[in-house]
């Protein structure tokens, strides 16, 4: 590991150390419907400095900032798509825990069907050869 990389790793470790528990009561919106939307959206957004945690679950500082931004967008009247779009414009598709369907992820989304088809074809071939 080169020295800057080591420093960076240390830095990331510090930033992502759970400085406080996840979602704090003080962050929540007064309107239950709006808060429910915020929760649902937050569960699908990745805390980009954590390993595979949603911003709803993460105690990282950055996750708290993103939760706050998300709620601010919803309060300002954004639709779900607009609020998500706001974050993907700044953090990229990386922030989405569910990878969007686009040319770069076609293989990801369609390969499982392909795997199943190959498995089925192999089984059929097996039985045909035995007939």
């Amino acid at each position: 590991m080169t020295r800057p990389a080591a420093i960076l790793a240390l830095l990331l470790a510090l930033l992502s150390a759970p400085a406080q528990a996840a979602l704090d009561a003080s962050e929540m919106l007064a309107d239950p419907a709006l808060e429910a939307r915020a929760r649902a959206l937050a569960k699908g957004l990745r805390c980009v400095v954590c390993q595979n945690q949603s911003i709803d679950d993460s105690g990282a500082d950055l996750a708290r900032d993103l939760r706050r931004s998300l709620r601010a967008r919803l309060l300002a009247g954004d639709s779900d798509e607009e609020a998500i779009g706001y974050l993907t414009e700044r953090y990229g598709d990386y922030v989405l825990l569910e990878p969007p369907l686009k040319p770069a992820t076609w293989a990801l989304w369609f390969a499982p069907v392909g795997f199943a088809a190959v498995a089925l074809a192999l089984a059929l071939r097996y039985f045909r050869r035995r007939e």
């Binding site: 960076l8 830095l11 500082d61 993103l66 700044r90 990229g92």
Partner: protein, 165 residues
């Protein structure tokens, strides 16, 4: 045909192993910024706003509590004083007094400093950690993003060309 079928696992594995080898060279912490190729994001904090930014320039996100920021500071000073690069600083999640003390101690390479105490501007810039450095081209578009402390190598290889030098 039958023989080929028995070769298939080996072929798949070979492809996979080659890919894993290539993957070893990558850095999982690197997150490309979607801002590249777009105008600087709209933000306004105490001391700095989007309208203040005049490209070509660097926008450096720093904090007094950030250890690697100290490491890259001499490079920033060098760029500003020796090479005349315009650098704007955003003190991320830092009290203004602490940020000012940091600059008083190490010198201030910034043309202007914005104080982003609650990290709101950080979200606008898609910051994931400090330090981060953005390059704005002459037209004010984001041309490049560097994550982590700057190194002389990164300055020569990425930053200066992106600045148009």
């Amino acid at each position: 045909m039958r023989r080929l079928l028995f070769l298939a696992p080996l072929a798949v594995f070979a492809a996979l192993a080659a890919w894993l080898y290539v993957g070893l060279g990558g850095d999982p912490a690197r997150i490309p910024s979607p801002l590249v190729g777009r105008p600087a994001p709209a933000f306004a904090v105490d001391g700095l706003a989007t309208a203040d930014l005049e490209g070509p320039a660097l926008v450096n996100i720093f904090a007094s509590w950030c250890v690697p920021c100290r490491a890259e500071h001499p490079l920033l000073t060098h760029l500003a004083e020796e090479q005349g690069v315009a650098i704007y600083g955003i003190a991320y999640k830092d009290r203004p007094e602490a940020a000012n003390a940091f600059l008083a101690e190490l010198g201030n390479p910034y043309r202007k400093v914005g104080y982003d105490e609650d990290g709101g501007a950080g979200v606008e810039w898609g910051v994931t950690g400090v330090p981060e450095t953005f390059v704005l081209d002459a037209g004010g578009m984001v041309a490049f993003k560097h994550t982590g402390p700057l190194t002389p190598d990164a300055v020569r290889r990425d930053l200066l060309p992106a600045l148009g030098r």
